[in-house]
Every structure is written in C-alpha cells, then in structure tokens.
C-alpha cells in the first residue's frame, strides 16, 4: 500500500502535484477512471442481484439509468419536465439578475442607496434562502409564481453583493482619470464604471446560475406537477430509482451547460483581461 504513495525523492522534483504526465497518458488515465467508476457501479448493482444483498431496485446499474433517460427522451415526457425546470430557472434567475445587477450598480455607486439596502441584506444574508421557501408558498400559494419568486430571492443575494463589490473595488484613480478627460454622470457610468465592474458582475452571475439550479430542485419537490425535481421526488412513491438518478444527472448536465454559457459570455465580454 505504501508503495503507491509518493516517496521522498519523488516529491522533491515537482512537489505533491508530481511531474506532468504526457497528454496521452493523462487522457488514458482519465478515461480509465470513468470506465472504472461505471464498471464498479455496474459490478455493485450486479452483485446486489446475484448475492441478494437487498432489494435491487435500490441500486440500479448505470445502463438502467441511461435506459430510463433515453426512454423518456424518446417518448417525450423528459422534454416537458426539462422545459418546466428550465423555464422556472430562466425566469427566476433573470429576475434575480436584473434586480441584483440593477440595485447592485446603484448601491455600489450611490452611498444613499447603499445605506438603505445594505443593512437589510446583511440581516437576511445569514438566513439560508431555503428557509424562506415556505414563506413564499404561504404568500403566493404553490404555483409557478412562488417558485420563480423564490429563485429570484435566492439568486438576488450573491449577484447583488458581487455587483456592489465590483463597483466599489474600482480603482478611484481610474475614475479620476476618466473625469479629467471629461466624463460625467451617465457617460462616466456607462463608459467606465460598468466595464470596470463587469468581471465581478459576471462572476456573480455565474454564482447565481449555480445557486438557481441548486435550489430549484427543492421548490419542485413541494407542490409541482412538472419539472426535473418533480420527477425525482415523484420517483420516491414507486421506488423508481432509475428515474430519480436519471433526472438528477440531467439536472447536473443542465447546470453544467448553464455554467458553461456564462463562462463563454465572460470570455467574450472581458476579452481585454486575457487577450492571448
């Protein structure tokens, strides 16, 4: 066992990271890892059946999960649920982003706005947004509005805070330079403050997207008839574990795609940060 651990001379060259493997070997190891993971999973689920360890529906093999997802995709219901989830996330995140960026820019720029909003935000921040979900349901019922509203509430905070920070961390030297070149008011705002704060704003948006996908599930557990979260929870009733796992994986893919989209946006809009 100890033989697999790096020895002292091995650590001396490049530290704990080790020397970089040639690309071919690194790729092979990665693929090998994923294959091993799937193989292990298949083996375990097979062993459960053969050795009668427990009811096999608790650990379906990867092929059952994949089969379930494909089946639902072909027959149609997957897309309905996917669209439902996506719609809620898009609307909720959109509203949260609009509010967060809008108020964030205002609060970052104008001390008057900041002094009003910041204490409220500081009070609400330690409270996990999930704790407010029942409040939204009480206020607006179990419908779409409460779900979208909840996502808006949850995504608002990180976006607002990073935007405020983005504006406030702008080097005052930059502002003075711009002003000495004649920039004023709205012009100063759009030409200097906005671009300078943009990297932080985009980081906030990325966090917001991640958070939106993080919390959408739970709001779809309670009082929903459609959506990936609904699929997951619904599976509980009849122990449809492949459905539960499959929907979770699809959700993961959606989140990954959403994150990738914002990163793409980041790279295009802040090209000046890495011109290479």
């Amino acid at each position: 066992m100890a033989r697999f651990l790096s020895s002292v001379p091995e650590l001396m060259d490049a530290g704990l990271r080790g020397t970089r493997l040639p690309r071919g070997r690194a790729l092979a190891l990665r693929l090998g890892a994923i294959t091993a993971f799937l193989a292990l999973w298949s083996l375990l689920s097979g062993a459960v059946v053969v050795l009668k360890l427990f009811n096999p529906i608790f650990l379906p093999g990867p092929w059952l999960v994949l089969g379930n997802v494909l089946d639902m995709a072909v027959r149609g219901p997957l897309w309905i649920h996917l669209a439902a989830t996506l719609e809620r996330v898009a609307l909720g995140f959109g509203a949260g982003a609009a509010l967060g960026v809008g108020l964030g820019l205002a609060a970052g720029h104008l001390a008057s706005v900041r002094n009003v909003i910041e204490p409220v935000v500081e009070l609400l921040r330690p409270i996990p947004p999930l704790a407010m979900l029942p409040m939204f349901i009480v206020w607006v019922g179990i419908g779409e509005v409460s779900k979208v509203g909840f996502i808006t509430y949850a995504t608002f905070f990180p976006i607002f805070l990073t935007t405020v920070n983005g504006v406030r961390q702008i080097d005052p030297l930059l502002l003075r330079a711009a002003q000495s070149l004649g920039a004023r008011g709205l012009g100063l705002f759009t030409r200097v403050i906005l671009p300078a704060a943009l990297p932080d704003v985009l980081t906030g948006l990325r966090l917001g997207v991640a958070l939106a996908f993080f919390v959408i599930v739970i709001s779809e557990f309670i009082g929903a008839e459609q959506g990936l979260g609904y699929l997951i929870n619904d599976g509980r009733n009849f122990f449809l574990v492949p459905q539960m796992l499959g929907a979770a994986v699809v959700l993961g893919l959606l989140g990954y795609a959403g994150n990738g989209l914002v990163r793409l946006l980041e790279r295009r809009l802040t090209r000046w940060q890495h011109p290479a």
Binding site: V8, P9, M12, D13, P22
Partner: protein, 257 residues
Amino acid sequence: MAGGPKIRIQHIAKSFGPAGRAIPALAEIDLDVHERELVCLLGPSGCGKSTLLNIVAGFLAPTSGTVLVDGRPVSGPAPERGVVFQEYALFPWLTVSGNVEFGPLLQSRPAAERRRTVDRYLDLVGLRAHAEKFPVQLSGGMKQRVAIARALANNPAVILMDEPFGALDAQTREVLQDELSRIQRVEHKTILFVTHSIREAVYLADRVVVMTSVPGRIKQVFPIKLPEVRDRFAPEFTQYESDITRVVREEVAKVRE
C-alpha cells in the same frame, strides 16, 4: 585532505524532457570539492548551475553520472547535505527557534540539547533576540540568517547554497556576505555556493568555477588566493573580478547570438 574530496561530482549529465526531444541542461560535469572549502558555481542565467546544485542536494536525479559525498553516493535528500534556498523556505508556522530546531527535532534530540543548539546558532547569526518571532515578521536578510542557522544547526557534512542572497537588496546582500564569511571562519564548513554575481564569488570563494551556458559545462576554474578577510577594493580583488568577468562575458555573448 585525508580520505579524498568531500564532494565528488563524476560525469554528471542532465537532460529534461521526453526521450528523443530532450533538452540537455548539463553535460559531463566533473568537480571535486574539498573539506572546509567554499566553492562558487558562477555563470549566466540558465547555465545549469542551480540544476547541478539540486542534483548534489538530491532533489533531482541526474540523467547519468554520480555524486559522492563522503564517499557515499547521493540518491535523494539527506541531512548530511544541508541546503539554503534563495526563497528562504522557512516554515511560516514555526517561530525562528522552531525553524532552527527542526533538524534536531527530527533526529529526536533531547529538548535540553536542542535548546542549546538553537541558542548557539542564533547567537552565531545574531538573532537570539528574535527567537520567538514568526518569519512573517522578519526582513529578508533576517530570514536568510535564520535559514543559515537552521542549516548549520543540523550539523551537515556539507552546505549547499542556491543564490541565497539573490532576493536581497544590494546593501543587505553585502552585509550577509560579510556574515557568511565570518561564520565560515568559525564553522569551517564545506560549502558549494551558486551565484551569478562575480563580486560575490570573488569575495566568498576559495575557488570559482565558471560554467558555460546550455549545455552547462565547466569552462574554467579560478583558485582565489586572497586572505580570509577580504577587501573588496584591494587591487588583487579587482584583478580577479576583471579576469573572471572577461571569461564570463564570452559566455554571455554566446547566449545572445
């Protein structure tokens, strides 16, 4: 010297990179360092002097050749070969005395003995008053003095120094050169010292080994016949400087081509 050279570098060669497209960093280095000698490896950036030092220290494995210290081959780092790094490499979570104590602690020396060792070497480098400070509270020069004390406290057979004063400003650098010279007169250690400063090399070394650039080879060895306490402005000192500078300039010109 009885029993042969302290450090024997035999046919050391080192290449980096995959076989077939390897970049040769060092080619056929042969060098002996005798006991109580301070030998400087001098050369332009990229000539492989640090690579050579790392091989002697045991941090890198050579592509071919062997290094013998006290007759025993080097196969990895060991307390017989103490090292002083350019980046100080002090453990930031330990105090000054904690750092100096590190080697003896690893060798399970009793606490009283460790205390005595720490006191002795902190006195030697003049930092006894700062024993309970953390590295983050020290200046660059002080940090390097702690590093030297730490290496000495472990009583190594040889000390390897990789551009130890390279990160310091010019004044501090000269002060530390004076310090090292003074310490060497007390401790008489065998030291292999890497630098790219000709002035520093002439000030400290018994022999200056000028290296060529890629691949690194020994171009010329200058024995320095100067008194133990050296005057940087003496004509003999300046003569050595210009002789060596001429040789080094040839190499730098080659790199530029």
